[in-house]
């Protein structure tokens, strides 16, 4: 069934995203994939709700989405880019770890924002990759950067 669900369509719903990403609540930073071109480009969508638990502390009187979690949304979209269309069926059961991040935050993301995260490959190899990511709310760039990640064959325990 898994192979059937990963046929090249250009969108993935929440359940399909969960089939690929190992992250779970409260750490799923992508709700849906709105555009996907295997190995070339993935655009993830994160609807930022005022109900997110991180807004309790970041910050009590000024809710803005933490930059670290925006990077996480970019990283999770990168995992989809890495896995989608990858013929290795075990790939989604692997653990993904950040190598490095170079990012610039250009404007905040607030409750109610619909954040689109576009990720394109710089170089993908069998054990990781380097990607470019841009997070936008409407035409406003929230964050852009480049990150590297590695893929561990064993699941983290």
């Amino acid at each position: 069934m898994a192979s059937e669900k990963r046929q090249p369509v250009d969108q993935l719903d929440f359940n399909q995203v969960k089939e690929i990403l190992p992250q779970r609540f409260p750490f799923l930073m992508i709700d849906r994939i709105v555009e996907i071109k295997a190995g070339e480009k993935v655009v993830g969508l994160k609807n930022i709700s005022g109900n997110e638990e991180f807004f309790q502390g970041h910050f009590p009187d000024l809710p803005v989405m933490p930059g670290s979690l925006i990077l996480e949304a970019i990283a999770q979209t990168a995992i989809v880019l890495f896995c989608y269309g990858n013929t290795d069926q075990d790939v989604s059961r692997r653990t993904f770890l950040f190598g490095s991040v170079k990012a610039r935050f250009l404007s905040p993301a607030y409750p109610g924002d619909r954040m689109l995260v576009e990720v394109t490959p710089v170089k993908l190899i069998s054990t990781g990759g380097v990607v470019k990511g841009v997070a936008k709310v409407e035409d406003r760039i929230v964050c852009k950067g480049e990150l590297s990640f590695s893929v561990n064959k064993e699941k983290a325990t």
């Binding site: 190598g99 490095s100 380097v130 590297s148």
Partner: protein
């Protein structure tokens, strides 16, 4: 391209990626044993070379990123083969 120029350009790339001062290593300093370079850093060095010289280097050549001299030789091979 002059060997000295290529050497110094790639030294800059390596120093930037692994966050080590350029005068802390030379051509033969071992990346893994002496500088703590891991597989991700090696990949980033490879990407740095690809971007700078507009070349594509296959994954299996990552094993050549062992020291600066080897990295320069790898870059030269692909720049000349372009």
């Amino acid at each position: 391209m002059e060997q000295d120029q290529l050497f110094s350009e790639i030294k800059k790339i390596v120093a930037y990626v692994i966050e080590v001062d350029e005068n802390e290593f030379d051509g033969e300093t071992k990346f893994v044993d002496d500088l703590g370079v891991d597989s991700m850093m090696a990949l980033e060095i490879l990407v740095g070379i690809e971007k700078k010289y507009k070349v594509k280097i296959p994954e299996d050549r990552l094993e050549n990123i062992t020291n600066l001299n080897e990295s320069v030789a790898l870059a030269r091979e692909f720049i000349e083969g372009k």
